[in-house]
Amino acid sequence: MSDHVLITLAKRKPYEVVPNMPEGCSYDYDRGLWTKSNEVLVSHSSEFGVQITKKCDVETGEDQKGE
């Protein structure tokens, strides 16, 4: 393994192809958003609120800049 400082400082974790989504949610292709039990998953008043935008994010810097 390289000794480059950016590699030695890196945090390692298991790779996830997709974020770990809340159980029972699905993507509504008609509306173009995620729902759970017919309710919008991400909103200020939903069970999961808007922090899910961070919670489910696969860490790629901040904004899913990966491919």
């Binding site: 480059h4 400082v5 590699i7 298991p14 958003l33």
Partner: protein, 310 residues
Amino acid sequence: MNKLCLILCSKYDFSVDLVIQELEKTGIDYIRLNKEDLSNYLINIDPIKKVLTVKGHGKNRTVSNITSVWFRQPVFIRNAPAYPLSLEEQLVRSQWAAFLRGIIVFEDAIWMNWPSSTYSAESKPYQLMLASKVGFMVPKTMIGNDSSYFEKFDEEIIVKSLDTVLLREGEDCLFTYTSNITAKELNEENTKIAPLTVQEYVYPKTDIRVTVVGEKLHAVKITSAGRGIDNDWRLLKKEEIEYIDIGLPKLISRYCKDIVSEMGLKFGAIDLIESNGNYYFIEINPTGEWGWLSTEKRPIEKDIANVLAG
């Protein structure tokens, strides 16, 4: 002409869900295309007539009235696959990426953001140069792989990547946060194979996130137990972090809007540091995340929807 917003993003780009709800409320027509699903649709562009057709998942749209494009796609591809790509995978990646860039045929639409603006705005050296030019204080910075330059810094330094470090090894992924180390820890052996960014360590510090959307600006300080966070705040547990609205000095607000404007952006997520009353520019992210900052009193999604609605 009816307005139509085209959204190019990821299926897991949850902040988009917030904006879509705003578009629904205001009756703005939209099409969301997720990069994960592109091959599951039938999608064509007539580049001469500027017509887009999208078929699949219950959609059958032929549109020539795209009035805004929300381009949430990165311009640079960062993460390397940990396995050899098949011919089909190589083809899918290269050609869909080019297809999405080709959406610029709808040049008359409102773009958030125009891809070539995102391209230049994603360059950290360019950001720092421009930030200094518009008037910001910028930490002393050296970028490269010659460690002899790094020895000239004070003992404590900030080490960060020049671009997102997102690596794969076997079943693991590696991500490098901004780190605080000492200049003595850097040498030819641990820097030569790839360039990095070294900055003076500004201390004490309070991180500030400024989200600029069109003419709107939201400034939030990021603290833990009411105090600034010494290291990369993303390393803390989410429940330990507070996001508190602040007012910026008028001059700093102007610099924020100026750099977004200079870069030709309509959206920019800017990281600043406040230290002893001074405000330092750290970086700007043209496709930065913001959903986690949104509240009913700080409804960033409404600002974005308003820009997209024209």
